[in-house]
Protein backbone atom coordinates (compact mmCIF):
# COMPACT_ATOMS: atom_id res chain seq x y z
CA UNK A 1 0.00 0.00 0.00
CA UNK A 2 2.67 2.51 1.07
CA UNK A 3 6.04 3.43 -0.37
CA UNK A 4 8.00 0.19 -0.10
CA UNK A 5 11.44 1.65 -0.78
CA UNK A 6 13.80 1.77 2.17
CA UNK A 7 13.36 5.53 2.33
CA UNK A 8 9.60 5.15 2.22
CA UNK A 9 9.64 2.58 5.02
CA UNK A 10 11.89 4.87 7.05
CA UNK A 11 9.47 7.73 6.59
CA UNK A 12 6.57 5.58 7.78
CA UNK A 13 8.48 4.36 10.83
CA UNK A 14 9.62 7.86 11.72
CA UNK A 15 6.06 9.17 11.48
CA UNK A 16 5.12 6.63 14.15
CA UNK A 17 8.23 7.12 16.29
CA UNK A 18 7.97 10.89 16.37
CA UNK A 19 4.23 10.79 16.89
CA UNK A 20 4.65 8.52 19.91
CA UNK A 21 7.49 10.60 21.34
CA UNK A 22 5.39 13.72 20.95
CA UNK A 23 2.41 12.01 22.60
CA UNK A 24 4.55 11.17 25.63
CA UNK A 25 5.87 14.72 25.66
CA UNK A 26 2.36 16.17 25.55
CA UNK A 27 1.43 13.85 28.39
CA UNK A 28 4.26 15.04 30.57
CA UNK A 29 3.06 18.58 29.94
CA UNK A 30 -0.44 17.60 31.02
CA UNK A 31 -1.95 18.26 27.60
CA UNK A 32 -3.23 14.72 27.14
CA UNK A 33 -5.88 13.24 29.40
CA UNK A 34 -6.35 9.59 30.30
CA UNK A 35 -3.80 7.09 29.11
CA UNK A 36 -1.82 6.08 26.06
CA UNK A 37 0.26 3.07 25.11
CA UNK A 38 3.11 3.79 22.78
CA UNK A 39 4.82 1.35 20.44
CA UNK A 40 8.32 2.81 20.37
CA UNK A 41 10.66 0.04 19.23
CA UNK A 42 7.86 -1.93 17.54
CA UNK A 43 7.35 0.36 14.51
CA UNK A 44 8.74 -2.20 12.08
CA UNK A 45 5.83 -4.55 12.83
CA UNK A 46 3.16 -2.03 11.91
CA UNK A 47 4.98 -0.68 8.88
CA UNK A 48 6.25 -4.04 7.65
CA UNK A 49 2.91 -5.86 7.86
CA UNK A 50 0.36 -3.16 7.17
CA UNK A 51 2.53 -1.70 4.45
CA UNK A 52 1.86 -4.74 2.27
CA UNK A 53 -1.90 -4.73 2.81
CA UNK A 54 -4.32 -3.18 0.36
CA UNK A 55 -6.29 -0.12 1.40
CA UNK A 56 -9.43 -2.28 1.11
CA UNK A 57 -8.07 -4.76 3.66
CA UNK A 58 -9.11 -4.38 7.27
CA UNK A 59 -6.88 -3.88 10.30
CA UNK A 60 -8.14 -4.67 13.80
CA UNK A 61 -5.81 -3.31 16.42
CA UNK A 62 -5.49 -3.22 20.15
CA UNK A 63 -4.56 -0.92 23.03
CA UNK A 64 -1.13 -0.25 21.48
CA UNK A 65 -2.53 0.79 18.14
CA UNK A 66 -1.20 4.20 17.10
CA UNK A 67 1.42 2.64 14.84
CA UNK A 68 -1.11 0.35 13.19
CA UNK A 69 -3.48 3.27 12.72
CA UNK A 70 -0.86 5.50 11.08
CA UNK A 71 0.52 2.68 8.94
CA UNK A 72 -2.95 1.92 7.55
CA UNK A 73 -3.42 5.50 6.44
CA UNK A 74 -5.19 7.06 9.41
CA UNK A 75 -5.06 10.84 9.66
CA UNK A 76 -2.30 11.91 12.06
CA UNK A 77 -4.10 15.10 12.98
CA UNK A 78 -7.28 13.16 13.80
CA UNK A 79 -5.25 10.83 16.04
CA UNK A 80 -3.55 13.70 17.86
CA UNK A 81 -6.93 15.36 18.28
CA UNK A 82 -8.39 12.11 19.60
CA UNK A 83 -5.65 11.84 22.22
CA UNK A 84 -6.40 15.42 23.22
CA UNK A 85 -10.12 14.68 23.48
CA UNK A 86 -11.07 17.08 20.71
CA UNK A 87 -14.28 16.84 18.69
CA UNK A 88 -12.09 16.69 15.59
CA UNK A 89 -10.57 13.44 16.82
CA UNK A 90 -11.01 10.35 14.73
CA UNK A 91 -13.60 9.11 17.24
CA UNK A 92 -14.83 12.56 18.16
CA UNK A 93 -12.99 12.41 21.48
CA UNK A 94 -15.32 9.66 22.67
CA UNK A 95 -12.88 6.83 22.09
CA UNK A 96 -9.45 8.07 23.03
CA UNK A 97 -6.19 6.31 22.37
CA UNK A 98 -7.51 2.76 22.41
CA UNK A 99 -10.76 3.13 20.49
CA UNK A 100 -10.05 4.30 16.97
CA UNK A 101 -11.98 3.85 13.79
CA UNK A 102 -11.91 4.96 10.22
CA UNK A 103 -13.15 2.87 7.29
CA UNK A 104 -11.00 -0.27 7.25
CA UNK A 105 -9.50 0.29 10.71
CA UNK A 106 -10.87 -0.65 14.11
CA UNK A 107 -9.33 -0.87 17.57
CA UNK A 108 -10.41 -1.77 21.07
CA UNK A 109 -8.61 -1.86 24.37
CA UNK A 110 -9.83 -5.14 25.88
CA UNK A 111 -7.28 -7.91 25.48
CA UNK A 112 -8.28 -10.70 23.12
CA UNK A 113 -11.87 -9.61 22.61
CA UNK A 114 -11.10 -8.11 19.22
CA UNK A 115 -9.98 -11.48 17.85
CA UNK A 116 -13.45 -13.02 17.34
CA UNK A 117 -14.66 -9.70 15.94
CA UNK A 118 -11.85 -9.86 13.39
CA UNK A 119 -12.78 -13.45 12.56
CA UNK A 120 -16.39 -12.36 12.03
CA UNK A 121 -15.22 -9.61 9.71
CA UNK A 122 -13.24 -12.18 7.73
CA UNK A 123 -16.39 -14.26 7.43
CA UNK A 124 -18.27 -11.23 6.11
CA UNK A 125 -15.57 -10.46 3.52
CA UNK A 126 -15.37 -14.08 2.44
CA UNK A 127 -19.14 -14.29 1.94
CA UNK A 128 -19.08 -11.09 -0.09
CA UNK A 129 -16.12 -12.32 -2.15
CA UNK A 130 -14.59 -8.91 -1.62
CA UNK A 131 -11.05 -10.24 -1.76
CA UNK A 132 -10.25 -8.29 1.40
CA UNK A 133 -8.41 -9.90 4.28
CA UNK A 134 -8.40 -8.98 7.97
CA UNK A 135 -5.15 -8.44 9.88
CA UNK A 136 -5.61 -8.58 13.65
CA UNK A 137 -2.81 -7.58 16.04
CA UNK A 138 -2.23 -9.39 19.31
CA UNK A 139 0.46 -9.17 21.95
CA UNK A 140 2.20 -11.94 23.85
CA UNK A 141 0.11 -11.06 26.89
CA UNK A 142 -3.09 -11.43 24.86
CA UNK A 143 -2.39 -15.12 24.43
CA UNK A 144 -3.55 -15.50 28.04
CA UNK A 145 -7.14 -14.85 26.94
CA UNK A 146 -9.31 -17.90 26.26
CA UNK A 147 -11.40 -16.30 23.55
CA UNK A 148 -8.30 -16.13 21.35
CA UNK A 149 -8.24 -19.92 21.13
CA UNK A 150 -11.98 -20.16 20.43
CA UNK A 151 -11.35 -17.76 17.57
CA UNK A 152 -8.31 -19.60 16.17
CA UNK A 153 -10.35 -22.80 16.13
CA UNK A 154 -13.23 -21.26 14.20
CA UNK A 155 -11.03 -19.28 11.80
CA UNK A 156 -9.30 -22.50 10.83
CA UNK A 157 -12.43 -24.64 10.82
CA UNK A 158 -14.24 -22.22 8.48
CA UNK A 159 -11.12 -21.27 6.48
CA UNK A 160 -11.40 -17.52 6.92
CA UNK A 161 -9.07 -14.91 5.41
CA UNK A 162 -7.52 -13.55 8.58
CA UNK A 163 -3.88 -12.89 9.42
CA UNK A 164 -3.07 -13.12 13.13
CA UNK A 165 -0.07 -10.95 13.93
CA UNK A 166 1.47 -11.56 17.35
CA UNK A 167 3.86 -8.86 18.45
CA UNK A 168 5.84 -10.51 21.21
CA UNK A 169 7.42 -7.63 23.07
CA UNK A 170 8.26 -9.97 25.96
CA UNK A 171 6.10 -8.17 28.52
CA UNK A 172 2.44 -8.17 29.44
CA UNK A 173 2.36 -4.67 30.89
CA UNK A 174 5.03 -5.22 33.58
CA UNK A 175 4.93 -9.02 33.76
CA UNK A 176 7.71 -10.76 31.82
CA UNK A 177 6.99 -13.75 29.59
CA UNK A 178 8.67 -16.02 32.12
CA UNK A 179 5.91 -15.24 34.63
CA UNK A 180 2.91 -15.62 32.32
CA UNK A 181 3.69 -17.85 29.39
CA UNK A 182 4.04 -21.64 29.25
CA UNK A 183 4.76 -23.75 26.23
CA UNK A 184 5.33 -22.52 22.72
CA UNK A 185 4.04 -19.64 20.61
CA UNK A 186 4.01 -21.36 17.26
CA UNK A 187 2.52 -24.61 18.50
CA UNK A 188 -0.46 -22.70 19.81
CA UNK A 189 -1.33 -21.81 16.21
CA UNK A 190 -0.19 -25.03 14.60
CA UNK A 191 -2.41 -26.96 16.98
CA UNK A 192 -5.37 -25.37 15.20
CA UNK A 193 -3.94 -26.07 11.75
CA UNK A 194 -2.79 -22.48 11.24
CA UNK A 195 0.65 -21.98 9.68
CA UNK A 196 2.81 -19.43 11.41
CA UNK A 197 5.98 -17.60 10.39
CA UNK A 198 8.26 -16.75 13.27
CA UNK A 199 10.55 -13.78 12.86
CA UNK A 200 13.24 -12.85 15.32
CA UNK A 201 13.96 -9.43 13.91
CA UNK A 202 13.11 -5.77 14.01
CA UNK A 203 14.31 -5.29 10.44
CA UNK A 204 11.37 -3.76 8.62
CA UNK A 205 12.52 -5.06 5.25
CA UNK A 206 12.65 -8.63 6.49
CA UNK A 207 9.26 -8.26 8.13
CA UNK A 208 7.82 -6.68 5.00
CA UNK A 209 9.04 -9.54 2.79
CA UNK A 210 7.64 -12.17 5.15
CA UNK A 211 4.35 -10.28 5.40
CA UNK A 212 4.09 -10.13 1.62
CA UNK A 213 4.18 -13.91 1.46
CA UNK A 214 1.85 -14.36 4.44
CA UNK A 215 -0.70 -11.88 3.10
CA UNK A 216 -0.77 -13.43 -0.36
CA UNK A 217 -1.12 -16.85 1.23
CA UNK A 218 -4.17 -15.68 3.19
CA UNK A 219 -5.62 -13.98 0.12
CA UNK A 220 -5.00 -16.83 -2.30
CA UNK A 221 -5.83 -19.77 -0.08
CA UNK A 222 -8.61 -17.93 1.71
CA UNK A 223 -7.37 -19.47 4.94
CA UNK A 224 -5.93 -18.04 8.13
CA UNK A 225 -2.24 -17.66 8.79
CA UNK A 226 -0.19 -16.19 11.61
CA UNK A 227 3.00 -14.22 12.07
CA UNK A 228 4.97 -14.15 15.28
CA UNK A 229 7.14 -11.05 15.47
CA UNK A 230 9.62 -11.18 18.31
CA UNK A 231 10.28 -7.56 19.16
CA UNK A 232 10.87 -5.26 22.08
CA UNK A 233 9.11 -2.21 23.42
CA UNK A 234 11.69 0.48 24.14
CA UNK A 235 9.10 2.77 25.76
CA UNK A 236 7.19 2.08 28.98
CA UNK A 237 3.88 0.15 28.89
CA UNK A 238 1.94 3.39 29.06
CA UNK A 239 3.59 6.44 30.53
CA UNK A 240 6.06 6.18 33.39
CA UNK A 241 5.41 2.68 34.63
CA UNK A 242 8.67 1.00 33.64
CA UNK A 243 10.27 -1.43 36.06
CA UNK A 244 12.47 -3.27 33.58
CA UNK A 245 16.21 -3.54 34.07
CA UNK A 246 17.76 -0.49 32.33
CA UNK A 247 20.58 -2.73 31.11
CA UNK A 248 18.04 -4.91 29.33
CA UNK A 249 16.45 -1.92 27.63
CA UNK A 250 19.90 -0.72 26.64
CA UNK A 251 20.67 -4.14 25.17
CA UNK A 252 17.64 -3.95 22.93
CA UNK A 253 18.44 -0.46 21.71
CA UNK A 254 20.90 -2.03 19.29
CA UNK A 255 17.84 -3.56 17.58
CA UNK A 256 15.98 -0.26 17.30
CA UNK A 257 14.31 -0.65 13.89
CA UNK A 258 15.00 2.95 12.96
CA UNK A 259 18.74 2.54 13.52
CA UNK A 260 18.79 -0.80 11.70
CA UNK A 261 17.25 0.69 8.60
CA UNK A 262 19.02 4.03 9.01
CA UNK A 263 22.37 2.32 8.52
CA UNK A 264 21.26 1.44 4.98
CA UNK A 265 20.17 4.93 3.98
CA UNK A 266 22.23 7.92 2.97
CA UNK A 267 22.27 10.82 5.41
CA UNK A 268 20.30 12.79 2.91
CA UNK A 269 17.59 10.14 2.62
CA UNK A 270 17.35 9.84 6.39
CA UNK A 271 17.21 13.58 6.96
CA UNK A 272 14.59 13.97 4.29
CA UNK A 273 12.38 11.32 5.95
CA UNK A 274 13.02 12.81 9.40
CA UNK A 275 12.13 16.34 8.40
CA UNK A 276 8.97 15.28 6.62
CA UNK A 277 7.85 13.22 9.62
CA UNK A 278 8.75 15.96 12.10
CA UNK A 279 6.83 18.56 10.15
CA UNK A 280 3.78 16.33 9.95
CA UNK A 281 3.84 15.52 13.67
CA UNK A 282 4.33 19.15 14.60
CA UNK A 283 1.47 20.26 12.39
CA UNK A 284 -0.81 17.49 13.65
CA UNK A 285 -0.40 18.34 17.33
CA UNK A 286 -0.41 22.08 16.70
CA UNK A 287 -3.70 21.86 14.83
CA UNK A 288 -5.19 19.47 17.40
CA UNK A 289 -4.26 21.85 20.22
CA UNK A 290 -6.19 24.63 18.47
CA UNK A 291 -9.24 22.47 17.78
CA UNK A 292 -12.33 22.60 19.92
Amino acid sequence: MGDSTAAGLMHEMLRIRLFEEQALEEFSRGRLFGTTHTCIGQEADAVGVIGVLRRSDVVFSNHRGHGHYLAHGGSMHALAAELMGRSTGVSGGLGGSQHLHFPGFYSNGVQGGIVPCAVGMALAEKRRNSGAIIAVFLGDGTLGEGVVYESLNIASLWRLPVLFVVENNRYAQTTPLSANFAGDFSLRFKAFGIDIDELDTTDVIVISKAATLAVSSVRELGAPRAMLLNTYRLSPHSKGDDFRDPAEIEHFRQFDPINLLGARLSHEEYDHALIAARDEVFAAFAQAAKDA
Partner: protein
Protein backbone atom coordinates in the same frame (compact mmCIF):
# COMPACT_ATOMS: atom_id res chain seq x y z
CA UNK B 1 -53.49 -21.88 16.45
CA UNK B 2 -49.71 -21.71 16.37
CA UNK B 3 -47.30 -21.81 19.27
CA UNK B 4 -44.74 -19.20 20.22
CA UNK B 5 -42.09 -21.66 19.04
CA UNK B 6 -43.67 -21.90 15.58
CA UNK B 7 -44.01 -18.13 15.40
CA UNK B 8 -40.33 -17.64 16.22
CA UNK B 9 -39.34 -20.30 13.70
CA UNK B 10 -41.45 -18.57 11.05
CA UNK B 11 -39.81 -15.27 11.89
CA UNK B 12 -36.36 -16.78 11.39
CA UNK B 13 -37.39 -18.22 8.01
CA UNK B 14 -39.00 -15.00 6.88
CA UNK B 15 -36.07 -12.87 8.00
CA UNK B 16 -33.60 -15.08 6.12
CA UNK B 17 -35.81 -15.15 3.03
CA UNK B 18 -36.27 -11.37 3.11
CA UNK B 19 -32.69 -10.26 3.65
CA UNK B 20 -29.63 -12.09 2.42
CA UNK B 21 -27.50 -10.33 5.00
CA UNK B 22 -29.15 -12.39 7.75
CA UNK B 23 -26.89 -15.23 8.90
CA UNK B 24 -27.72 -17.59 11.73
CA UNK B 25 -25.06 -19.00 14.08
CA UNK B 26 -25.42 -21.28 17.05
CA UNK B 27 -24.54 -24.56 18.67
CA UNK B 28 -26.28 -27.72 17.39
CA UNK B 29 -28.55 -25.71 15.10
CA UNK B 30 -28.37 -27.92 12.01
CA UNK B 31 -31.20 -30.24 10.98
CA UNK B 32 -32.37 -32.77 11.92
CA UNK B 33 -31.69 -31.59 15.49
CA UNK B 34 -32.54 -27.94 14.80
CA UNK B 35 -31.26 -26.43 18.04
CA UNK B 36 -31.87 -27.44 21.65
CA UNK B 37 -35.33 -25.84 21.71
CA UNK B 38 -36.08 -26.23 17.97
CA UNK B 39 -36.42 -22.57 17.02
CA UNK B 40 -33.90 -23.38 14.25
CA UNK B 41 -35.80 -26.41 12.95
CA UNK B 42 -35.75 -26.56 9.15
CA UNK B 43 -33.57 -23.47 8.74
CA UNK B 44 -30.41 -25.27 7.69
CA UNK B 45 -32.36 -27.27 5.13
CA UNK B 46 -33.90 -24.15 3.62
CA UNK B 47 -30.76 -21.97 3.88
CA UNK B 48 -27.86 -24.43 3.96
CA UNK B 49 -25.09 -21.89 3.45
CA UNK B 50 -26.45 -19.28 5.86
CA UNK B 51 -26.93 -21.42 8.94
CA UNK B 52 -23.65 -22.08 10.70
CA UNK B 53 -23.35 -24.62 13.44
CA UNK B 54 -20.54 -23.61 15.75
CA UNK B 55 -18.18 -25.05 18.32
CA UNK B 56 -19.12 -24.56 21.96
CA UNK B 57 -17.66 -21.05 22.01
CA UNK B 58 -20.26 -18.52 23.15
CA UNK B 59 -17.75 -15.68 23.41
CA UNK B 60 -16.32 -16.29 19.95
CA UNK B 61 -19.65 -16.63 18.17
CA UNK B 62 -20.96 -13.45 19.79
CA UNK B 63 -17.76 -11.68 18.72
CA UNK B 64 -18.03 -13.17 15.23
CA UNK B 65 -21.56 -11.84 14.98
CA UNK B 66 -20.26 -8.43 16.02
CA UNK B 67 -17.60 -8.54 13.31
CA UNK B 68 -20.19 -9.64 10.75
CA UNK B 69 -22.48 -6.79 11.76
CA UNK B 70 -19.67 -4.22 11.57
CA UNK B 71 -19.06 -5.35 7.99
CA UNK B 72 -22.64 -5.07 6.81
CA UNK B 73 -24.34 -8.35 7.75
CA UNK B 74 -27.33 -8.83 10.08
CA UNK B 75 -26.36 -11.88 12.13
CA UNK B 76 -28.52 -13.79 14.58
CA UNK B 77 -26.82 -15.83 17.29
CA UNK B 78 -28.49 -18.51 19.34
CA UNK B 79 -27.07 -19.04 22.83
CA UNK B 80 -28.32 -22.48 23.84
CA UNK B 81 -29.22 -21.48 27.41
CA UNK B 82 -29.47 -17.93 28.70
CA UNK B 83 -27.26 -19.01 31.59
CA UNK B 84 -24.34 -19.17 29.14
CA UNK B 85 -24.59 -15.47 28.31
CA UNK B 86 -22.02 -14.99 31.06
CA UNK B 87 -19.48 -16.42 28.61
CA UNK B 88 -20.43 -13.81 26.01
CA UNK B 89 -20.66 -10.90 28.43
CA UNK B 90 -17.38 -9.23 27.49
CA UNK B 91 -18.30 -9.42 23.83
CA UNK B 92 -21.65 -7.75 24.48
CA UNK B 93 -20.54 -5.19 27.07
CA UNK B 94 -17.14 -4.16 25.74
CA UNK B 95 -17.49 -4.82 22.03
CA UNK B 96 -20.95 -5.07 20.43
CA UNK B 97 -22.49 -2.37 22.62
CA UNK B 98 -19.53 -0.02 22.58
CA UNK B 99 -18.53 0.32 18.93
CA UNK B 100 -21.26 2.67 17.74
CA UNK B 101 -20.75 5.05 20.62
CA UNK B 102 -16.98 4.97 20.99
CA UNK B 103 -16.46 5.26 17.24
CA UNK B 104 -18.55 8.42 17.33
CA UNK B 105 -21.63 7.02 15.56
CA UNK B 106 -19.64 5.95 12.50
CA UNK B 107 -20.70 2.30 12.66
CA UNK B 108 -23.78 0.20 13.36
CA UNK B 109 -23.92 -3.24 14.97
CA UNK B 110 -27.22 -4.79 13.89
CA UNK B 111 -27.15 -8.19 15.57
CA UNK B 112 -29.58 -10.27 17.59
CA UNK B 113 -28.61 -12.70 20.33
CA UNK B 114 -31.56 -15.04 20.91
CA UNK B 115 -31.66 -17.21 23.98
CA UNK B 116 -34.03 -19.41 25.97
CA UNK B 117 -34.32 -18.29 29.55
CA UNK B 118 -35.96 -19.31 32.78
CA UNK B 119 -36.81 -22.25 35.01
CA UNK B 120 -39.73 -24.56 35.86
CA UNK B 121 -38.24 -27.44 33.89
CA UNK B 122 -36.07 -28.93 36.64
CA UNK B 123 -32.82 -28.07 34.87
CA UNK B 124 -31.25 -26.80 38.10
CA UNK B 125 -28.93 -23.98 39.12
CA UNK B 126 -27.03 -23.38 35.84
CA UNK B 127 -29.70 -24.03 33.19
CA UNK B 128 -32.76 -22.26 34.65
CA UNK B 129 -31.85 -18.67 35.39
CA UNK B 130 -33.29 -15.42 34.08
CA UNK B 131 -29.91 -13.83 33.45
CA UNK B 132 -31.36 -10.91 31.51
CA UNK B 133 -31.32 -8.90 34.75
CA UNK B 134 -27.53 -8.79 34.49
CA UNK B 135 -27.73 -7.27 31.02
CA UNK B 136 -30.31 -4.59 31.74
CA UNK B 137 -29.08 -1.03 31.78
CA UNK B 138 -26.14 -1.50 29.44
CA UNK B 139 -25.95 1.57 27.21
CA UNK B 140 -26.31 0.48 23.60
CA UNK B 141 -27.90 -2.89 24.34
CA UNK B 142 -31.57 -3.55 23.71
CA UNK B 143 -33.11 -6.29 25.83
CA UNK B 144 -36.39 -7.62 24.43
CA UNK B 145 -38.54 -10.33 26.02
CA UNK B 146 -41.17 -12.20 24.07
CA UNK B 147 -44.56 -13.06 25.62
CA UNK B 148 -47.70 -14.86 24.50
CA UNK B 149 -49.78 -11.67 24.31
CA UNK B 150 -47.74 -9.92 21.64
CA UNK B 151 -46.95 -11.18 18.16
CA UNK B 152 -43.67 -13.04 18.69
CA UNK B 153 -43.07 -13.36 14.96
CA UNK B 154 -43.31 -9.64 14.36
CA UNK B 155 -41.21 -8.92 17.43
CA UNK B 156 -38.34 -11.11 16.24
CA UNK B 157 -38.65 -9.86 12.65
CA UNK B 158 -38.37 -6.30 13.92
CA UNK B 159 -35.29 -7.16 15.94
CA UNK B 160 -33.55 -8.88 13.04
CA UNK B 161 -34.56 -6.72 10.09
CA UNK B 162 -35.34 -3.25 11.48
CA UNK B 163 -33.22 -2.66 14.58
CA UNK B 164 -29.65 -1.46 14.08
CA UNK B 165 -28.72 -1.88 17.75
CA UNK B 166 -27.34 -5.06 19.29
CA UNK B 167 -30.36 -6.80 20.78
CA UNK B 168 -30.70 -9.55 23.34
CA UNK B 169 -33.90 -11.44 22.54
CA UNK B 170 -35.18 -13.37 25.55
CA UNK B 171 -37.42 -16.40 25.05
CA UNK B 172 -38.72 -18.06 28.21
CA UNK B 173 -38.60 -21.84 27.78
CA UNK B 174 -42.17 -22.40 28.92
CA UNK B 175 -43.46 -19.95 26.33
CA UNK B 176 -42.32 -22.07 23.41
CA UNK B 177 -45.35 -24.33 23.63
CA UNK B 178 -47.84 -21.59 24.59
CA UNK B 179 -50.50 -21.11 21.97
CA UNK B 180 -50.83 -17.58 20.71
CA UNK B 181 -53.96 -15.66 21.57
CA UNK B 182 -55.12 -18.56 23.70
CA UNK B 183 -52.58 -18.93 26.44
CA UNK B 184 -53.22 -21.05 29.46
CA UNK B 185 -55.17 -18.12 30.84
CA UNK B 186 -58.92 -17.87 30.99
CA UNK B 187 -60.56 -15.99 28.14
CA UNK B 188 -62.35 -12.62 28.40
CA UNK B 189 -59.21 -10.54 28.60
CA UNK B 190 -59.06 -7.29 26.69
CA UNK B 191 -55.59 -6.70 25.26
CA UNK B 192 -54.58 -3.21 24.14
CA UNK B 193 -51.29 -2.53 22.42
CA UNK B 194 -49.75 0.72 23.48
CA UNK B 195 -46.93 2.66 21.78
CA UNK B 196 -47.57 0.46 18.76
CA UNK B 197 -45.41 2.66 16.57
CA UNK B 198 -42.33 1.28 18.29
CA UNK B 199 -40.55 -1.87 17.20
CA UNK B 200 -41.27 -3.36 20.59
CA UNK B 201 -44.76 -2.48 21.82
CA UNK B 202 -46.12 -2.93 25.31
CA UNK B 203 -49.58 -4.36 25.92
CA UNK B 204 -52.05 -3.51 28.62
CA UNK B 205 -54.46 -6.22 29.71
CA UNK B 206 -57.61 -6.21 31.81
CA UNK B 207 -60.73 -8.30 32.13
CA UNK B 208 -63.16 -7.06 29.53
CA UNK B 209 -65.89 -4.94 31.07
CA UNK B 210 -64.32 -5.02 34.52
CA UNK B 211 -64.80 -2.12 36.95
CA UNK B 212 -61.99 0.33 37.66
CA UNK B 213 -58.70 -1.40 38.45
CA UNK B 214 -57.27 -1.06 41.97
CA UNK B 215 -53.82 -2.44 41.22
CA UNK B 216 -51.32 -2.19 38.38
CA UNK B 217 -49.13 -5.21 37.74
CA UNK B 218 -46.06 -4.71 35.56
CA UNK B 219 -44.51 -7.91 34.28
CA UNK B 220 -42.83 -9.42 31.23
CA UNK B 221 -42.23 -12.67 29.39
CA UNK B 222 -43.71 -15.92 30.62
CA UNK B 223 -44.69 -14.35 33.96
CA UNK B 224 -47.47 -12.53 32.11
CA UNK B 225 -49.25 -15.90 31.72
CA UNK B 226 -49.08 -16.54 35.46
CA UNK B 227 -50.10 -12.99 36.24
CA UNK B 228 -53.25 -13.34 34.13
CA UNK B 229 -54.16 -16.52 36.02
CA UNK B 230 -53.78 -14.62 39.28
CA UNK B 231 -55.73 -11.65 37.91
CA UNK B 232 -58.63 -13.90 37.01
CA UNK B 233 -58.66 -15.43 40.51
CA UNK B 234 -58.47 -12.01 42.15
CA UNK B 235 -61.52 -10.93 40.18
CA UNK B 236 -63.54 -14.10 40.71
CA UNK B 237 -62.65 -14.75 44.36
CA UNK B 238 -62.06 -11.27 45.77
CA UNK B 239 -63.67 -8.86 43.28
CA UNK B 240 -60.32 -7.12 43.03
CA UNK B 241 -59.56 -5.85 39.55
CA UNK B 242 -56.13 -5.39 38.09
CA UNK B 243 -54.61 -3.72 35.06
CA UNK B 244 -51.57 -5.56 33.70
CA UNK B 245 -48.84 -3.84 31.69
CA UNK B 246 -46.49 -6.09 29.74
CA UNK B 247 -43.59 -4.35 27.99
CA UNK B 248 -41.55 -6.25 25.44
CA UNK B 249 -38.55 -3.92 25.60
CA UNK B 250 -37.06 -4.24 29.08
CA UNK B 251 -34.05 -2.06 28.51
CA UNK B 252 -34.04 0.77 27.73
CA UNK B 253 -37.44 0.86 29.41
CA UNK B 254 -40.26 3.16 28.36
CA UNK B 255 -41.99 3.69 31.71
CA UNK B 256 -44.91 5.64 30.22
CA UNK B 257 -47.45 2.79 29.93
CA UNK B 258 -46.70 1.58 33.47
CA UNK B 259 -46.75 5.10 34.88
CA UNK B 260 -50.01 5.81 33.05
CA UNK B 261 -51.67 2.79 34.66
CA UNK B 262 -50.18 3.57 38.08
CA UNK B 263 -51.66 7.06 37.93
CA UNK B 264 -55.09 5.41 37.62
CA UNK B 265 -54.61 2.78 40.38
CA UNK B 266 -52.01 4.27 42.74
CA UNK B 267 -50.79 0.79 43.49
CA UNK B 268 -48.06 -1.14 41.72
CA UNK B 269 -46.82 -4.73 41.82
CA UNK B 270 -43.91 -5.84 39.67
CA UNK B 271 -43.54 -9.51 38.82
CA UNK B 272 -40.48 -11.13 37.31
CA UNK B 273 -39.05 -14.65 37.41
CA UNK B 274 -35.46 -13.53 38.03
CA UNK B 275 -34.16 -13.02 41.55
CA UNK B 276 -35.89 -9.99 42.94
CA UNK B 277 -33.01 -8.01 44.47
CA UNK B 278 -31.70 -5.20 42.29
CA UNK B 279 -33.76 -6.47 39.41
CA UNK B 280 -36.07 -5.16 36.71
CA UNK B 281 -38.83 -4.49 39.21
CA UNK B 282 -36.50 -2.34 41.29
CA UNK B 283 -35.92 -0.09 38.30
CA UNK B 284 -39.65 0.06 37.50
CA UNK B 285 -40.45 1.08 41.07
CA UNK B 286 -37.73 3.72 41.02
CA UNK B 287 -38.98 5.25 37.79
CA UNK B 288 -42.57 5.27 39.03
CA UNK B 289 -41.51 6.76 42.36
CA UNK B 290 -39.63 9.49 40.52
CA UNK B 291 -42.77 10.18 38.50
CA UNK B 292 -45.03 10.41 41.55
CA UNK B 293 -45.89 13.97 42.64
CA UNK B 294 -45.49 15.23 46.20
CA UNK B 295 -48.26 13.87 48.40
CA UNK B 296 -49.10 11.29 45.74
CA UNK B 297 -49.95 7.79 46.88
CA UNK B 298 -47.21 5.24 46.30
CA UNK B 299 -48.13 1.72 47.31
CA UNK B 300 -45.80 -0.75 45.70
CA UNK B 301 -43.92 -4.00 45.97
CA UNK B 302 -41.76 -6.31 43.92
CA UNK B 303 -42.21 -10.03 43.41
CA UNK B 304 -39.60 -12.31 41.89
CA UNK B 305 -37.57 -15.39 42.64
CA UNK B 306 -36.06 -15.66 46.07
CA UNK B 307 -32.44 -14.60 46.18
CA UNK B 308 -31.17 -18.14 45.78
CA UNK B 309 -29.79 -20.35 43.03
CA UNK B 310 -32.54 -22.39 41.41
CA UNK B 311 -32.83 -25.92 42.84
CA UNK B 312 -33.33 -28.95 40.62
CA UNK B 313 -35.97 -30.72 42.69
CA UNK B 314 -39.46 -29.83 41.50
CA UNK B 315 -40.95 -28.85 44.89
CA UNK B 316 -37.85 -26.88 45.82
CA UNK B 317 -37.76 -25.11 42.46
CA UNK B 318 -41.43 -24.20 42.88
CA UNK B 319 -40.68 -22.80 46.31
CA UNK B 320 -38.00 -20.49 44.91
CA UNK B 321 -39.78 -19.19 41.79
CA UNK B 322 -42.82 -16.90 41.99
CA UNK B 323 -46.12 -18.74 41.55
CA UNK B 324 -49.71 -17.76 40.72
CA UNK B 325 -50.46 -18.00 44.44
CA UNK B 326 -47.52 -15.71 45.25
CA UNK B 327 -48.85 -13.13 42.78
CA UNK B 328 -52.35 -13.45 44.24
CA UNK B 329 -51.03 -13.00 47.78
CA UNK B 330 -48.81 -10.05 46.84
CA UNK B 331 -51.71 -8.26 45.16
CA UNK B 332 -53.95 -8.93 48.18
CA UNK B 333 -51.27 -7.57 50.48
CA UNK B 334 -51.12 -4.38 48.39
CA UNK B 335 -54.88 -3.94 48.49
CA UNK B 336 -54.96 -4.50 52.25
CA UNK B 337 -52.19 -1.97 52.69
CA UNK B 338 -54.17 0.55 50.64
CA UNK B 339 -57.22 0.02 52.83
CA UNK B 340 -55.17 0.47 55.99
CA UNK B 341 -53.77 3.68 54.57
CA UNK B 342 -57.30 4.83 53.80
CA UNK B 343 -58.34 4.18 57.42
Amino acid sequence: MITVLQALNEAMREAMATDERVLFLGEDVLDPYGGAFKVAKGLSTQFPDRVLTTPISEAAITGIATGLALRGMRPVVEIMFGDFLSLAFDQLLNHACKFRWMYNDQVRVPMVVRTPMGGRRGYGPTHSQCTEKHLLGIPGLRVVAVNSLCDPKQLLLNAILCDDEPTLFVEHKLLYLSRLGQSSNPPHFEIIRSNSLFLYPAVSVRIAGAPRAEVTIATYGYMADLVLDAVWRLAMEQEIFVEVIVPTCLSPLDIAPILGSFERTGSLLTVEEGVVSLGWGSEVLSLVAEGTPKGGRFVARRLGARDLPIPSSRPLESAVLPSVQDIFDAAMELVNRQEKNAV
